[in-house]
């Protein structure tokens, strides 16, 4: 009963997503550099970095959970990826709906936290705390944006939402869902850990936050996970608000568009401290979210 076509499709999609994820990270660094009038690294730089990390001759571990953390994170990201309807590949999205995917996208956070906590380094503990508080802060507006979306389209299934958007036009054309789009975009910054809310791995303050103790293949795993997560998040964003895509190229264009919004916002804003971020998230995005939700009641 194991249909090989779906399995091959899945594996192909995972490889494609990882590759494109690295490219997105490269685009991100390249765009930031270009904004600062620097040439910036080649787009495929993250692939080189990951290969270099994999090639490290020595690898250090603080215990079983320290190793299990990144592995679990990457596993969860791949799972989340396979539930999102990428372009015309249905993959497994018929078996899960929006809430499941939203939760699966947050599960890698637990993997990273597990690994970071078991390393015993106070910087990583501080990173974990900030990561969790950011998640707590952004969860309410994130939920409200999703609820507005679900209430408008009346269904939880991603494939249905994509189909409805093909018929009735993209979500952002609907005024209420435009508000939801704004809220989701702000939350998107925090999900990716980009500039205004990158308190989680604030490079200057707590040296790479949770990832301070990671090196060699563990860091490679985390980079791959970040790549897959980036691809999954942008695909999720595109599917929800920009009407999914009939083919990979169209999806790619939408993903890059979303990515550029995030990059432009990231390269302008300084960093919020964690309680400012919490207060901010519970003030404006939540209010806009409530309005969006009430409009689509």
């Amino acid at each position: 009963m194991f249909d090989w076509k779906l399995a091959l499709e899945a594996i192909g999609m995972v490889i494609y997503a990882t590759f494109m994820g690295f490219i997105f990270m490269g685009i991100e660094r390249k765009a930031m550099a270009r904004i600062q009038r620097r040439i910036g690294p080649p787009i495929y730089q993250p692939i080189i970095d990951t290969l270099k990390l994999l090639g490290k001759k020595e690898s250090v571990s603080h215990g079983l959970i320290y190793d299990f953390g990144p592995v679990f994170a990457l596993g969860a990201s791949i799972t989340a990826l396979l539930f999102i309807p990428i372009a015309n590949f249905q993959l497994f999205s018929s078996n899960a709906d929006l809430i499941v995917v939203a939760y699966l996208l947050e599960v890698p956070m637990l993997g990273i936290m597990l690994g970071a906590m078991s390393s015993g380094n106070p910087y990583s503990a501080l990173g974990v705390q900030r990561g969790l508080l950011t998640m707590v802060a952004m969860q309410l507006p994130y939920g409200l944006a999703l609820i507005a979306l679900i209430q408008h389209w009346g269904t939880f299934k991603l494939s249905n939402i994509v189909a409805l958007q093909q018929v009735h036009g993209w979500s952002i054309t609907v005024p209420a869902l435009l508000l939801a789009f704004i809220v989701f975009d702000i939350v998107f910054q925090a999900l990716l850990g980009l500039e205004p809310f990158d308190i989680v791995s604030a490079p200057a303050e707590i040296s790479m936050g949770p990832m301070v103790e990671y090196g060699g293949k563990h860091a490679a795993l985390l980079f791959t996970q970040h790549a897959v997560q980036l691809f999954a998040e942008t695909a999720f964003f595109a599917v929800l608000f920009l009407g999914g895509a009939s083919n990979l190229l169209e999806l790619l264009v939408k993903q890059i568009a979303v990515l550029f919004i995030a990059i432009f916002v990231a390269s302008i804003y300084p960093r919020f401290t964690i309680d400012q971020a919490a207060k901010f998230f519970w003030k404006w995005p939540t209010i806009i979210g409530i309005i969006a939700v009430l409009l689509t009641m």
């Binding site: 690898s59 592995v71 396979l82 209430q151 409530i290």
Partner: protein, 615 residues
């Protein structure tokens, strides 16, 4: 037919025997046996209840002029099985943690109380076992601390007496006490409207306080942290696992008995039933408030106590939604909360038993010392945080579905915030207790004793089984609620969404395999000690504990300082103080010892009689 009686009174009798014998070995054996009997009887009845032609098992006895009816239908079987499952786990836990037979007696008495509440078919039996359950759990807390126990007892007795008055009003209006007649009369009355609107509102309010106190809804949750943390922790598994479910069962009863009448009396607002909307909002507020309080706690038991209150808030919310899907979600969450919270409390019992400490700053780095307990707590963490392949997620997912499809967006938003808070305080527990540098005095900590581990295993297995195959539960609940949730046993299909638990688990394994491949490919890992961490180059020593366990969420407290000024505890303390001062004033004023003033009281009464005559 009298198996029901055996099932009901077996724990009580076992409790008395255990209390009377008070011999180390026999006491535990009798106790465990006492908890196993109900589980056995319930298992035997599964075929009749959930079989092809489900028929209700009833048993009536007359006590003191009242006719007590005990019935076992689908819903009471469900609740009774959960309670007995937790009871068995508690018994195994108490084998290793409880020292005195006093605790065995009252633990098993509260067990009988809960079973009685779930099985009783009329209000007198319901009230009798409700009081018995409250009293027994109160005596467990009384042994440990007077203040907490009195706070718990006063609140729950106020709840119980509110229920008694509501029962009295119903008895006065309908003349009967058993659920069948009351339900029939109230159903008819919804049309006729002989019971006035205000009276129905009063009865609803009274029942709300009664069940709200036991379930721990926000304004009445004050007793929960104190009561849950003061008691011997393995009993708390039962206390918060099963006893708070009696409150949830009460709310369900409210729907069954008075649903139609309440709708007729309190009306509809924006196509939500007003009374269920109130319950939903009560649940939502409980989830958020208790979640925030749980995150900011420093004591491990307080954290889980507030977490229990918040999780029961989910159940109330599920019930409050009112749609069959909402009920399925709520009742599934009853099972999953009972299971993972019971597991957490057994883990806490193991920790307190082995280390004797309860505050987060004294723990640390126990993952190596207590590996099995750590594995169990990891399962419980995954389940409570709602990570997909676990039972916690399935029930929470159903409640989300129900809330959003019933057009209750703000309530659904509250759950989003609540589940994030759950994630936060659960990870905080993981970090503070299991990881980081181990304080020097925890060096010789041994693994938890075997019976406690068995108890944990009993509760861990359902977590995984119902996580991967949620259909089992929803299909059983469907018998009672007109199966709103389709799909086979590993896949849930609701009109608006689907969740395939098995597939998520498979894909997670697939993803882990890929990640594992990459991991194995790299250089062989070398284990380094905790002191070999990057402290910007400074050498690190074992003596100074680097891990950050105290005030883990200090920034959140700063972000919330506006709300944290108000606390329900202080409000209730002041109320109690006022009551006691009034009592003093009354006593000093009235009984002031002077015969003359007493004679004046007589004269005053004579005056009243004289005036009375004239009126």
């Amino acid at each position: 037919m009298n198996e029901l009686m055996i099932m009901l009174f077996a724990p009580l009798v076992a409790g008395f025997i255990a209390w009377a014998l008070d011999v180390r070995g026999i006491r535990e054996a009798v106790g465990v046996l006492g908890t196993l009997v109900p589980l056995g009887v319930l298992a035997k009845y599964y075929s009749t209840i959930a079989g092809s032609n489900p028929e209700v098992v009833t048993q009536t006895i007359t006590v003191g002029g009242f006719k007590l009816i005990f019935q076992l239908n689908t819903i009471s079987w469900y609740f009774a099985t959960i309670a007995s499952l937790i009871g068995v786990a508690m018994a195994f836990g108490m084998v290793s943690t409880s020292r005195s037979s006093y605790e065995w007696l009252f633990a098993l008495m509260s067990y009988t109380g809960v079973l009685g509440v779930f099985l009783s078919g009329d209000f007198v039996g319901f009230f009798l076992f409700w009081e018995l359950m409250t009293f027994a759990s109160f005596m467990m807390v009384l042994k440990r601390s007077r203040h907490e126990s009195l706070k718990y007892f006063v609140l729950s007795v106020i709840g119980a007496y509110a229920m008694l008055i509501a029962i009295g009003i119903l008895y006065a209006k309908i003349g009967a006490l058993d659920f069948g007649t009351i339900r029939q009369a109230l159903y008819m009355d919804a049309m006729l409207g002989s019971i006035s609107k205000s009276l129905t509102a009063l009865v609803f309010l009274l029942f709300l306080t009664a069940f709200g106190v036991k379930a721990g809804a926000v304004p009445l949750h004050v007793w929960a942290p104190g009561a849950y943390s003061e008691v011997d922790q393995s009993y708390t598994a039962f206390f918060s696992g099963a006893l708070s479910k009696a409150g949830a069962y009460g709310f369900l009863l409210l729907y069954i008995l008075m649903g139609a009448k309440l709708v007729a009396a309190l009306g509809i607002w924006h196509n939500h039933m007003v009374f269920s909307y109130i319950i939903a909002w009560l649940g939502a507020i409980t989830v958020v408030v208790a979640g925030f309080l749980a995150v900011l706690q420093e004591d491990i038991r307080k954290l889980f106590a507030y977490s229990s209150v918040s999780q029961v808030g989910y159940i109330l919310l599920g019930l409050g939604i009112g749609t069959p899907l909402g009920f399925t979600g709520a009742l599934f969450h009853v099972l999953s909360h009972a299971v993972f919270k019971g597991l957490f409390w057994l883990v806490v019992a193991a920790l307190v038993l082995r280390t004797g400490k309860t505050r987060f700053e004294d723990f640390g780095g126990l993952a190596e010392k207590m590996p099995i307990t750590f594995a169990m707590s990891l399962i419980a963490v995954l389940s409570l945080a709602g990570i997909p392949p676990m039972a916690g997620f399935a029930s929470k997912w159903l409640i989300y579905e129900a809330a959003i499809s019933a057009h209750m967006p703000l309530v659904a938003g509250a759950i989003f915030l609540g589940s994030a808070l759950a994630f936060a305080y659960v990870v905080r527990f993981l970090y503070a207790v299991w990881f980081g540098q181990r304080p020097s005095d925890l060096e010789d900590v041994k693994e938890a004793p075997l019976p406690l581990l068995i108890g944990m295993a009993i509760l861990a297995i359902p977590n995984i089984v119902f996580g991967v195959a949620p259909g089992l539960v929803t299909e059983y609940l469907g018998k009672f609620l007109g199966n709103p949730v389709g799909g086979n046993y590993y896949k849930l299909v609701t009109p608006t969404g689907t969740y395939n638990a098995l597939l998520v688990a498979v894909l997670l394994v697939f993803g882990l395999a890929i990640a594992g491949l990459i991991f194995i490919y790299g250089a062989k890992t070398r284990r380094i000690p905790v002191t070999n961490t990057y402290q910007s180059g400074n050498p690190v020593t074992e003596d100074y504990n680097l891990s950050m366990r105290r005030n883990f969420y200090r920034p959140l407290a700063e972000a919330l300082d506006f709300w944290l000024k108000y606390s329900w505890d202080r409000f209730y303390e002041r109320l109690a103080g006022i009551a006691e001062d009034f009592a003093d004033f009354l006593r000093e004023g009235f009984y002031n010892g002077n015969v003359q003033s007493y004679a004046w009281y007589l004269a005053v009464v004579l005056l009243i009689l004289a005036l009375w005559g004239v009126l």
